[in-house]
């Protein structure tokens, strides 16, 4: 069952006038099924991060549509889009983006708090998410007291705490060493396997991409290839 679909998706940036317009994503048609682990790879500037931002409703497309669970994100106003990001999408970033003022538990509970969930329930859910990523023991620590790998696992727990329809991970291992990279990838694989969590992961690291069941390769804003592990390109 498809959970995410894009139709003729295109994004153009006009930062310095029409002459210097840059089309980062062009004519992307992509369908992701529930429980799929998709890796989007490509060279720097190939448009993979922009694609992820479009899929997550962080930025709006110039043309085309993004349908998450059948809902066209372009039709939503800011508040509705915020609610979708809060409840249906989990984000993981290369630089973790944990709020330095909050403990790990509070960081993970934040999306629930923003959704109006009481703090007891939010904390319980956050602790459960932290247990899922093996970080429950560090719940009371602040981000600056954690290693990069630990912070990233915390960020993954935050992405999972609302039980989202999809997790979008932008270079989640980009700032990590090999050991921690492997741990994060393993964690994502486990989530897909055990929870049937849909994950779309952006990476330029072929080793990380190899962990995904499906690999979408981008070049100049277009999908160059789309293949399932060990299978022919779709």
């Amino acid at each position: 069952m498809s959970i995410l679909r894009t139709e003729a998706l295109e994004k153009t940036f006009n930062t310095a006038g029409a002459e210097a317009a840059v089309t980062a994503v062009r004519d992307v048609n992509l369908t992701v099924d529930s429980g799929e682990f998709v890796a989007v790879i490509g060279a720097s500037g190939s448009g993979k991060s922009t694609l992820l931002h479009l899929l997550g409703g962080i930025t709006r497309p110039t043309s085309g549509r993004v349908l998450l669970e059948g809902v066209d994100l372009a039709t939503l106003d800011d508040d509705a889009l915020a609610a979708v990001r809060r409840r249906r999408i989990g984000f993981v970033f290369q630089r973790y983006n944990l709020l330095p003022e909050l403990s790990l538990l509070e960081n993970v509970a934040l999306p629930l708090v923003l959704d109006g969930v009481g703090h007891v329930r939010a904390d319980a859910a956050a602790l459960e998410a932290l247990e899922a990523v093996g970080m429950a023991g560090r719940a009371g620590h602040r981000p600056d007291e954690l290693s990069g790998g630990e912070q990233q696992r915390g960020a993954i727990a935050r992405a999972l705490v609302t039980r989202p329809a999809i997790v979008l991970a932008d270079e989640p291992t980009g700032a990590l060493d090999t050991v921690n990279s492997a741990r994060v990838v393993e964690l994502l694989q486990r989530l897909v396997a055990e929870r049937r969590q849909t994950v779309i992961l952006i990476t330029h690291d072929p080793a990380v991409a190899a962990a995904a069941a499906r690999v979408v390769r981008m070049c100049d804003g277009r999908i160059e290839s789309d293949s399932t592990s060990g299978a022919a390109p779709r």
Binding site: I58, T59, A82, R86, N97, P100, E106, L110, L114
Partner: protein, 837 residues
């Protein structure tokens, strides 16, 4: 965990930012409270000063044709707004005998008990006189005579010689309100009976409330009077005090308004920085699913808390500062300290204002941050202001300039009151602040080229920092522009006004001794004229007198406007004591010799008189056409004067007597004239003052008023410095990470500190230059605003000392404010600096 936990954690994580934001509010609210209280103290001080020097502001009801009149003709007027009391006055020259001493004094008949109760008669000791055989004496006179309360004096009246008991001793200041030189107070009915003038009075003096509009009250009183009576400004009262105080009050309005505007800007700026610097953090919260409303509520809550705390602290600090400032102002004005009287609404108003400003200032960047594209918001690098913001600023600057120009023009032509110039000044200042972002970068690039070559690296990086952070640096420079403009504009305006007044007095009053008519005695005009001529002759014949100039003063009306008619000898061999506008001294001299008059510029403006006009002037019920030859700068009666030669005044208005004699001694003989002149003064009921005393009298007003204005301007300076220091500190604190990164790539600690200080100095100079232009323009606006008050434009002088002090202060304050946090920032652990968000 709730959002407010995030708030508290953010404050704990970045205490400097939160403290600086709250401190800005504290400075602003403190400034509002202290400035307002100090301005109130100044106004109260001015009132006390005026009352001390010129008495309680008043209007006189007199007979149209001069002389005494039946008191029952005066209708009830105390019910009119602005009137404190109506006081019938009866004057009588008398002879007092105490032991072997015989003195000619002026006795005033009043209802002493009622006046003492109304606060119009101040007794140093004893009580008011009530019975026919009771008297109050001037305390200084009594001391000189060696008598006190309970002693007796012989009082020689027309009908009898009475033995009268002294019941009280009054202060000279309070007696002067009844008549210049009055020293004896008797019950009015007793004095009338003794003088065989039952129920007659010389005048009814109406005491006005401090905040009353004299012209309006006078018009209302005049409406009720019968045709035989007239309401006028008391002749010969120290109208100069009024004049200086009009300007001073305008100055106070300006100082208060600009200090308030500066305070608002400081709060707005701090809150803008506080929120704008966290754009990325706010975007991250949005990314995690917070709605724009949630983020805005979060920011507003923070602003309200910081604003509330800052406001309460600021109000307390303001109250603490207001006491010493008010005491200092009383000292400057040489008036008794009245204690700190803060309007009950002031503190709540200031607190509400602080919170409101903080919330309003935080709301705007919060709205911007929540309407941004999330990707843009998450970008670590600062972005330039959007083109729409630049457009809006230019439109705002243009609109504000138009508002300033229009309101100034309306004020200049008299459609709006002089206070409208405060609106112009504020609008103009805001226009300059709006232009600051456009002027700042080119100025900074230019300054970057002037950095010594050995600091070229630091200089280049400093310029880069400013150019790459346009919003943050424009905000910092904005505070500097406001502070410098305030100091330079008001500093120039105060100094120019004072010099204008003093220069005029220096020109007008050149004599060693000044003899002034002590009281308005009800003798016939002929009798007074003859007495005056006799006295002038006696003075001229005194050994050691080089020159005597007589000045006659009368109240008149020109086209419905009250004016003071001044008759001066103005001999051809002496410099003309006038400052013509649009005519030469020779032309004016010739016109005066032909019997024409010159009009003070304020009178000309009020009555619509132009040079060359023939106007009907009414003096003592006689209306006579007079040609106005030219307009002159004059501070007599606030510039509402008509001046002509004494011989012409004698012919046209029958003004025979000299109310003032200016006596110039031969070189080295001035001191020797004191004794004979004192004797003449006693004989003719005149008041003798040396020029030095008169000068001190003028200086006392001017110095006091100027001192009070400087005090408040000084307060503004402190507020401005604190605001600038706070903003610069915030600016440096926000750069902790980039400073760490610079060190990480090899910059030495000293280089980093130098770069930060250079950046601040460049900001200080650039903001100072823009502030200098804004300040000089503000000074011009203030001086234009003086035109309707003084009737002539003040001469504008560029004052290098004021400019230098303000620019130097701007640079020193910014450099120090940057150096301290920069030094702390570079001492941080490198990792800690780099990881700072």
């Amino acid at each position: 965990m709730r959002l407010r936990t995030l708030l508290v954690r953010q404050w704990r994580n970045r205490p400097g930012r939160a403290v600086a934001a709250a401190a800005s509010v504290a400075v602003a609210v403190g400034a509002v409270v202290a400035t307002w209280a100090a301005a109130d103290a100044s106004r109260a001080g001015y009132r006390r000063l005026t009352e001390t020097i010129a008495g309680v502001p008043s209007i006189d009801i007199t007979a149209r044709d001069g002389g005494r009149f039946d008191a029952t003709l005066v209708p009830r007027v105390v019910d009119l707004p602005g009137i404190r009391a109506a006081v019938p006055l009866f004057y009588r020259p008398t002879l007092l005998r105490v032991g072997e001493s015989r003195l000619r004094e002026v006795a005033v008949g009043v209802d002493a008990a009622a006046l003492a109760a109304a606060g119009l008669l101040t007794l140093e000791s004893g009580e008011p006189c009530r019975e026919d055989d009771e008297v109050i004496l001037d305390a200084t006179l009594a001391k000189g005579l060696g008598v006190g309360v309970g002693d007796e004096v012989l009082f020689f009246a027309r009908r009898r010689i009475a033995r009268m008991r002294i019941t009280g001793l009054a202060t000279g200041d309070s007696l002067r309100w009844f008549a210049e030189g009055a020293t004896v107070v008797v019950d009015i009915q007793a004095l009338e009976a003794m003088s065989l003038s039952t129920a007659e009075v010389d005048r009814v003096r109406i005491a006005l409330l401090a905040d009353a509009d004299r012209a309006r009250v006078m018009a209302a009183v005049a409406e009720r009077l019968p045709a035989s009576l007239v309401a006028d400004v008391p002749v010969g009262r120290a109208s100069m005090a009024d004049d200086v105080l009009h300007s001073a009050n305008l100055g106070l309005d300006f100082v208060t308004a600009l200090t308030l505007a500066m305070s608002w800007f400081i709060v707005g700026n701090a809150m803008l920085m506080n929120v704008a610097e966290r754009r990325r953090g706010l975007s991250l919260v949005r990314l995690l699913g917070a709605t724009g409303r949630q983020v805005r509520r979060f920011v507003v809550l923070e602003a309200a808390i910081l604003g509330g705390v800052g406001s309460i602290v600021g109000a307390a600090l303001g109250l603490a500062a207001a006491g010493p400032i008010s005491a200092g102002i009383s000292q400057a004005l040489q008036t008794p300290p009245a204690g700190l009287a803060v309007e009950p609404w002031l503190v709540p108003f200031a607190i509400v204002m602080g919170v409101f400003l903080a919330v309003a200032a935080a709301w705007w960047p919060a709205r911007e941050a929540t309407s941004l594209d999330l990707l843009e918001g998450l970008a670590a690098a600062p972005t330039a202001a959007p083109p729409s913001a630049s457009r809006n600023l230019l439109v705002a600057a243009a609109a504000l300039t138009v508002v300033a120009a229009v309101s100034e023009a309306l004020m200049y032509v008299g459609v709006w009151p002089p206070r409208a110039s405060v609106v112009s000044g504020i609008a103009l200042l805001l226009a300059f602040v709006s232009l600051t972002p456009f002027l700042l970068i080119p100025l900074v690039r230019l300054l970057g080229r002037l950095v010594p070559s050995r600091w070229q690296v630091e200089g280049r990086l400093a310029v880069d920092q400013i150019v790459r952070q346009p919003i943050r640096t424009a905000l910092t420079a904005g505070v500097l522009v406001v502070a410098v403009s305030n100091g330079i504009g008001l500093g120039h305006a105060i100094r120019d006004s004072v010099e204008d007044v003093l220069a005029w007095y220096g020109k007008m009053l050149k004599a060693d001794w000044v003899l002034t008519q002590a009281g308005a005695l009800s003798v016939s005009r002929e009798e007074r004229g003859a007495d005056s001529r006799r006295m002038e002759r006696i003075v001229r014949e005194l050994a050691g007198v080089a020159d005597v100039e007589g000045i006659g003063v009368a109240t008149g009306r020109v086209a419905g406007s009250v004016c003071v008619v001044i008759a001066r000898d103005m001999p051809d061999d002496k410099p003309l004591p006038l400052e013509p506008v649009g005519a030469t001294i020779d032309e004016v001299r010739q016109a005066l010799a032909r019997g024409e008059a010159v009009a003070g510029t304020v009178l000309a403006q009020r009555a619509g008189v132009k040079a060359g006009d023939e106007v009907v002037v009414e003096v003592s019920g006689r209306a006579t056409p007079v040609k106005v030859a030219a307009l002159v700068v004059d501070y007599t009666s606030g510039g509402a004067s008509l001046q002509l030669r004494r011989d012409a005044a004698r012919k046209i208005f029958g003004m025979e007597a000299a109310d003032v004699l200016l006596v110039t001694a031969e070189p080295g003989r001035a001191a020797a004239l004191r004794e004979p002149l004192e004797a003449i003064a006693r004989e003719h009921s005149m008041l003798l003052r040396s020029f030095g005393e008169l000068r001190r009298y003028i200086d006392r007003i001017v110095t006091g008023v100027v001192g009070s204005l400087w005090s408040i301007l000084g307060l503004g300076f402190v507020v401005g410095s604190l605001g600038v220091a706070n903003t610069v500190t915030m600016n440096v604190l926000e750069k902790k990470r980039s400073l760490g990164l610079l060190r990480a790539v090899g910059m030495r600690r000293g280089q980093v500190v130098r770069m930060v200080v250079l950046e601040s100095i460049m900001l200080g100079i650039a903001g100072g230059i823009i502030g200098l232009v804004a300040g000089l323009t503000t000074a011009l606006f203030i001086q234009l605003a003086s035109q309707p008050l003084l009737g002539h434009p003040l001469r504008f002088h560029v004052r290098p000392d004021i400019i230098a002090v303000n620019l130097l202060a701007a640079v020193v304050v910014t450099a120090l404010a940057a150096w301290l946090p920069a030094r702390r920032a570079v001492r941080l652990d490198l990792l800690e600096s780099i990881s700072a968000e």
